[in-house]
Amino acid sequence: MNAVIEGQHQADMEEHSHGPDKGIMRWVFTTNHKDIGTLYLWFSFLMFLTGGLLAFGIRAELFQPGLQIIQPELFNQIITMHGLIMVFGAVMPAFVGLANWLVPMMIGAPDMALPRMNNYSFWILPFAFSMLISTFFMEGGAPNYGWTFYAPLSTDYAPPSVTFFIFSIHLMGISSIMGSINIIVTILNMRAPGMTMMNMPLFVWTWLITAYLLILVMPVLAGVVTMMLMDVHFGTAFFNAGGGGDPVLFQHIFWFFGHPEVYIMILPAFGVVSAIIPTFARKRLFGYGSMVYATASIAFLSMIVWAHHMFTVGMPIAGELFFMYATMLIAVPTGVKIFNWVATMWEGSMTFETPMLFAIAFVILFAIGGFSGLMLAIVPADFQYHDTYFVVAHFHYVLVPGSIFAIMAAVYYWLPKWTGNMYDETLGKTHFWLSFIGVNVTFFPQHFVGLAGMPRRIPDYALQFADYNMISSCGAFLFGFSQLVFLFVLIKCIRGGKKATSQVWEGAHGLEWTLASPAPYHSFSAPPQDMTEAHG
């Protein structure tokens, strides 16, 4: 990605541009959206590997019944950190990295609106995660209460590292809020003339809506961890019934953040897929307008369904029914999106390069995750599914072949634009097929053990779950190791390869494809004029 250093300056586009600084200080002080995008993406990849390593630990312990390599105490720490690192360290920063790289180029802006703040929002993250990961080496160990950190397990019964956990969540929240303010301001103020809202590529639309969701819910997360801090250190009892509080209050506040968070991790993925499928189908996106409205509806609904994570918590029936109906409604706009993607493919002229493969796998496997999501919405059935491996299978289907496949699709799709070189298509496809098989072998059997009664978050299990857990572990190792292929493709592409054209892909539309490949260090210093192909 940093082949941008060598940026061949296109005389017809840049009059007064200068290249990046040399050395490490380039990355520390950079205010360039492309550099910051690169930083975010590499950081998220590092976190993805870290979280993956923890997943290896989980799957190794669950390979067979009995306790082999990880004792229950450590197991709980590992599942907690796996969740936190993957959600806050891998998926979210990857999408922010994509937004940094792409939003200015897609709307014809020279950079993000608030470049210095952009730098801060990134550089907070390494500190936040160093602090979080350092808790592994503290007395009492790392957070061991699950990534949902339900009180009072995370307050009265937490290890001392909980304070560091709270502070690192605060830092991540600050970073996310600054990042999303930047994205909103950029999109609303820096569009090139003629780039109307309904001209924007869907990736820009989905990120605009995501950024609003972030601003809405990150302060709620900050609030709930602050209440925990008060309970732990300052004698309050927000979440302690003995002092007049309520442990369930914690869950309501947490999931008011947590459910929109789920959509924060998937809406930009919708944007990515909506860019890739039209390109490789050589056909305009079907139903652009309905895609925008569906995204907005999903975002709205995401704010009123939080208690579907808490159906067993003892709510009155009116509450259960409201949250069930509202949750089921999400299937409608989500269905519209899937139908639109299928209709885009229909009667197209398709080719199946790596980004398209990832995008199609996204649609199919995300839909499977959607189906299990619909099943989970049905309250009486949820009493059987809740907190079992069925839930684990569900959310990994929407997060791994959902969000993460979309991120990989995006990287393959825009990599030639970023580096100026084509990646190795054979290796890319190898990476895809290994990941595709690995993901399904890992997570599909988890539906079975969940339905058959295996609770989640246990280090050891009854004998009837043994076969599928072993299959699942094998899949996880396959998926994990195949990411090394990804790393290899990335490095190989950055170091060289067949030169990419400006348009890169035959069917690509959008302003970023009017720029040279690699995109010049400073692009659109003068706003582009032609908006006829602003979105695919």
Binding site: N144, P247, G314, S349, A367, M375, P380, R457, I458
Partner: protein, 400 residues
């Protein structure tokens, strides 16, 4: 008729799952025992009217999803086969169709309504609050369950409160099986020392709460899952049709041994239940009577070891060395060799801000006296101290 429908569903489920699975996995994986036993891959139907309703609902939604999946994925696969550039497909230019878009908004809504109707009616029957025959308090502790028969519903009601039935139910799987030293038994991790016993065909109400952190009481065969929240009491109920032993597990992360606190419910015929109740009441009375007498050191030590193994060993370990820093050692240091009164105070009332629970509410006076005595004399502690059940009772009542 109901049976034929179920048989059909069963057959259809087998057929569809087989097709779906074979797409994803190779034949070899599924040619083994898993194919023969479908309970390994699907929700159990259970043994209550509610659990069967839930199962039917689950299968209904599953079939609807399968049909939608076949249509959508079928269209995608067809398109991928027919509309590829390599066979000369030319792209069409359509990119919207208002009628189509309205149709695929309205139709899903109708399907959702069709799902919501049975879901709502099942949920309403689950929330039915009619009078119960038996009330049992279910209390989650780190990491065991306590059952108290508030109204035991036996044919001859209890005469006095001394005979209230209350007991702890703890994992029975030996540590050696967990550590892969001994071979694992049939009910590995799903066996307890004392199961909850209920009669069939009676309406049982569970009043569910917790002592420390949140747990969840789950018996899949009853389709009952309810969070046990400290400070709050939640309600669930069941009527079991068939005698049998039904196993479940805690379903909310509750700390270190979350995976090791199973629930076992034994459903029996009414006469058997009545007999069991009488026996338990007698036991409770005898235990109560023994609180007043003087216990010998040997009696205390042998009972103490049993109580320790059942209640203390997961944290403080069988060698008394604990798992510092979270779970301190008792052997040769700290409270167990310090002042007897301080030691007893912590055992009875727990220690705030730590995992040390208040055992005064979990164990009876004899058990408490025995375990305190045991801790003061095991692992070379040899303090020679002992404490009698009546002294424990005095400490307990003095503190109230």
């Amino acid at each position: 008729m109901n049976r034929t429908r179920r048989a059909w569903q069963c057959g259809a489920w087998r057929w569809m799952s087989r097709c779906g699975l074979l797409l994803l996995f190779s034949n070899s994986v599924f040619s083994n025992s898993a194919l023969a036993d479908w309970s390994a891959v699907n929700m159990p139907e259970g043994v209550t009217a509610i659990s069967r309703d839930v199962y039917d609902l689950h299968m209904l939604i599953f079939y609807i999803c399968v049909v939608i999946g076949i249509l959508v994925f079928g269209a995608m696969i067809l398109s991928m086969l027919m509309h590829r550039k390599s066979i000369g497909a030319k792209p069409a230019s359509f990119h919207e169709n208002t009628r189509l878009e309205i149709a695929w908004t309205i139709i899903p809504i109708l399907i959702l309504v069709a799902m919501a109707v049975p879901a709502t009616s099942t949920l309403r029957s689950m929330y039915d609050a009619s009078e119960s025959d038996i009330d049992i308090e279910v209390r989650g502790y780190q990491w065991k369950w306590q059952y108290t028969y508030l109204a035991d519903g036996s044919s001859n009601p209890a005469e006095d409160s001394d005979s209230t039935i209350q007991f702890m139910s703890v994992l029975r799987t030996p540590q050696d099986e967990i550590d892969n030293i001994a071979s694992k038994g049939e009910h590995y991790l799903l066996d307890v020392d004392k199961p909850l016993v209920i009669p069939i065909n009676k309406r049982i109400r569970f009043l569910i709460t917790a002592q420390d952190v949140i747990h969840a009481f789950w018996v899949p065969a009853f389709a009952v899952k309810k969070d046990a929240v400290p400070g709050f009491i939640h309600e669930a109920w069941t009527v079991v049709d068939e005698p049998g032993i039904y196993r479940g597990q805690c379903a909310e992360l509750c700390g270190k041994n979350h995976g090791f606190m199973p629930i076992v419910v034994q459903a029996v015929e009414q006469q058997e239940y009545d007999a069991w109740i009488v026996e338990r009441r007698e036991e409770a009375k005898i235990a109560y009577a023994t609180f007043g007498r003087e216990w010998t050191m040997d009696e205390l030590l042998s009972k103490g070891e049993a109580v320790y193994t059942q209640n203390c060993v997961v944290c403080h370990q069988s060698d008394g060395k604990g798992l510092p820093p979270a779970f301190p050692a008792l052997a040769g240091q700290g409270l167990a060799v310090g002042l007897l009164t301080e030691h007893a105070d912590i055992v009875l009332h727990g220690k705030a801000g730590t995992a040390m629970q208040a055992f005064g509410v979990q164990l009876n006076a004899a058990e408490l006296a025995a375990v305190i005595t045991y801790e003061r004399n095991a692992w070379g502690n040899d303090t020679g101290d002992s404490i009698q059940p009546k002294e424990v009772n005095a400490l307990l009542s003095g503190s109230e």
